[in-house]
Symmetry: C2
Subunit: 449 residues, 2 copies
């Protein structure tokens, strides 16, 4: 049995959905890395009773470590340190060394915002130096310190790791927290799990259910594996956790997936399509340029998410209007007249035009109907045409009919485009030429791409 | 006292952070709209015991309604209906009408993926028609039905609303769920709160703590208001909830904020900067074009998030390399040589070039160092230059030094740019000309923009 942890995310702004919680997921991944099982994440408002009840609930689930995020700020609705003190039955005391440390941190801030009232700022932040007695202080990254608060004097029970809400303050504190004795003793029982990650593109999730049945018929020891599947940005992700001794069972399971899904399994090593495309471009020393209509910059932004992407991405175009397609990328107006702006022909012209005008090796064109308006029977909302073309003449053109709302369609389109780029980069010239025709019927393409 | 609800989000993929939960926040907003207070959101893995414990915990917090999301899919790790049946002590029964309904939904899917084994698909989905006896079925949007499961026969207790995980299946079900008797009786006690939203740009969050102290000194009845502040994409959001009878207290509090933060308060009516910029452009019947270096498409994508944005956004440029800045937008190479690519001069040339080449009324240029590499002492990671220029000669040029990692810097840059566009659009010619100089020292600009 492994060590268990529970996370309490505090903040009315997170609970009410105004702010997306990034800390729970981030901490979940860190816990997994060190072999600590996560029992659950509870999100509550900045109400002392709710925070306290959440700590108690998670402790009752057998947690050895509780982690709180948020509620350490300077305003009066930030109450976490106080509540954790109550939970561990420890008095609140002013830590004077910490108070000076925070004052030091604030000095440059006061210079930057010269109109602020210095006394007000100091009062607001003195509050942040009042902590439960016996806590270990984790040095502030912003102005809020982290804390490790041990169980009540002389009692057993989970330690509580108290972290600030802003991810850029929380994340650097994690390493410091891991080094504290309270944290180490809590996670002493951790088992190191392995995790296998298989990613597929172009099949529905229900196909994996059938693959599980096939594996069971072939006596793969599925009961030794914890298998979960999910859809993520249009891809199916199959994650398998297992203890190191069960590696053979995992290998047998992975073989069944490989055999049944040879043409759609694109990643077995945890690498995302984004990394694969970046690596393929880097290996070939090739550059890429995009002309985007409905995605309007999202693919360029996605291609440059990783540091160092300037080696492959030179530039690109957002061509929202027909005029921009013609003027910026050189699409022949007669193509738009004849086939419409959302067509394979225009997608191909966008790919070629982007490539040529930027001087890149690979060009990508995207044109579609993201909705909610603008759809017709022949070209419904969700129809998106893609083209990827190479300087050497290879070209792939596809259409898909994507489900969901405007944001889904735009996001999903970037995933389809990434897979089409990968396909072009791993396909030799002959196959590329064979597949290069325009006019594949809509709805067929997700499978082939 | 208002009705309370609790949300249980199930899914190992959500708990472990591989997938971002969009349902909890979405449901939180819907509950707020109908005056139901959210006690908490619990995220757990697809483990029956954990789901059950979460339902019990939330019921113990006085919830009148429990909502589950996820775990209704065709694979064997999808167990929610079963667990809710156990929680409400109701037998699981096959609903034959529902089974036929699902079979009907699957027919086109089977045509689209002709290689699937039809028996396998049907078996996987028959599971989705086995539901707790006495449940109200909510018609499937995908293949998974929603359920409203009443408390055990003859007992009081919260009803459970069971919804599927994919947001595009869950969201359309909400209206149907609200119409069910079980749901209506659970939320009968709902009080309709009002909510006031004040958004500020260009001050640190701690300033609001001081404003709260000022309001208290002036005897504003803060105890009748529930005020929370948070940072969101670089803006400070102050949300105040209150009962309709306390509108005067809210008005007194809002007056203090208005007075102390006149120059940074940009929204009092809930409108985001995105809506303000879209509306300002639409009112002036003006168009906009962007040339982006470090943000590489994110601002164009943000400007086109809203339906109908094609009225204002014609096109734009991603100019990641120096060559692209010169070739695509016509930046004078000597400007890059003299001032560097990250400079006010180049930002201004990008704004002008984008505007002229696209034929737009407003141009935006962004060039900065998103990191993690590429920073120097003079131009550190996080330094970003912005320019906004108008066809009539007005121009604003600013630099900021943004905190955080690569993704933060890129995202935050789009917020700064949006505010600079707003500033240009609400400023008259004289003021614009006055503010138009290049060379404002880095670090000063967030306040002034």
């Amino acid at each position: 049995m492994s060590a268990r942890a529970g996370i309490v995310v505090t903040g009315t702004e997170v609970l009410t959905g105004r702010v997306t919680d990034r800390n729970g997921p981030w901490l979940a991944e860190r816990l997994l890395e060190i072999g600590v099982e996560l029992a659950g994440t509870v999100i509550v408002a900045d109400r002392p009773d709710d925070v306290l009840a959440s700590l108690r609930h998670l402790a009752a689930q057998g947690c050895d470590l509780l982690i709180t995020t948020g509620g350490l700020g300077p305003t009066e609705d930030d109450l976490t340190a106080d509540v954790v003190g109550r939970y561990q039955r420890r008095e609140m005391v002013l830590d004077e060394a910490l108070e000076s440390r925070i004052a030091e941190i604030l000095r440059p801030l006061l210079r930057r915002w010269p109109d602020l009232d210095p006394d007000g700022v100091r009062a607001a932040n003195r509050k942040q130096a009042v902590i439960p007695a016996g806590s270990t202080v984790l040095d502030p990254v912003g102005t809020a310190p982290g804390l490790v608060v041990p169980p009540p004097e002389g009692e057993d029970g989970p330690g509580v790791l108290v972290l600030p809400g802003p991810p850029r303050e929380l994340q650097p504190m994690w390493e410091a927290a891991k080094a504290t004795p309270a944290f180490r003793s809590a996670v002493a029982r951790a088992v190191s799990y392995r995790q296998g990650m298989l990613r597929l593109f172009g099949i529905p999730e229900s196909e994996i259910a059938e693959t599980l049945r096939v594996a069971r018929r072939r006596d793969v020891a599925l009961e030794r594996l914890e298998i979960t599947t999910c859809l993520r940005r249009g891809e199916v992700e199959v994650v398998t956790r297992y203890e190191p001794a069960d590696a053979d069972a995992y290998e047998a399971w992975a073989s069944v997936v490989r055999e049944r899904h040879a043409d759609t399994l694109f990643s077995e090593d945890g690498r995302l399509i984004d990394e694969q495309v970046a690596d393929l471009l880097a290996e070939a020393e090739e550059t890429i340029a995009v002309a985007e209509s409905c995605t309007a910059g999202l693919l360029s932004a996605r291609l440059t998410e990783r540091p160092g992407s300037s080696g492959a991405v030179l530039g690109g175009f957002v061509v929202y209007s027909d005029e921009a397609k013609i003027k910026l990328v050189g699409v022949d107006p007669s193509l738009i007249e004849t086939h419409g702006a959302v067509s394979g022909e225009v997608a191909a012209a966008l790919a070629d035009g982007a490539r040529e005008r930027v001087g890149a090796d690979v060009g990508v064109g995207i044109t579609g109907i993201a909705g909610p308006d603008g759809g017709t029977e022949a070209k419904p909302v969700g129809l998106v045409w893609f083209a990827v073309s190479h300087r050497d003449g290879r070209r792939l053109v596809r259409s898909v009919h994507l489900p969901g709302g405007r944001a889904d369609i735009r996001d999903r389109s970037t995933t389809v485009a990434m897979h089409l780029v990968r396909r072009l980069l791993i396909t030799d010239v002959a196959e590329g030429a064979h597949e290069g025709g325009v006019g594949l019927p809509a709805g067929e393409a997700t499978r082939r791409a």
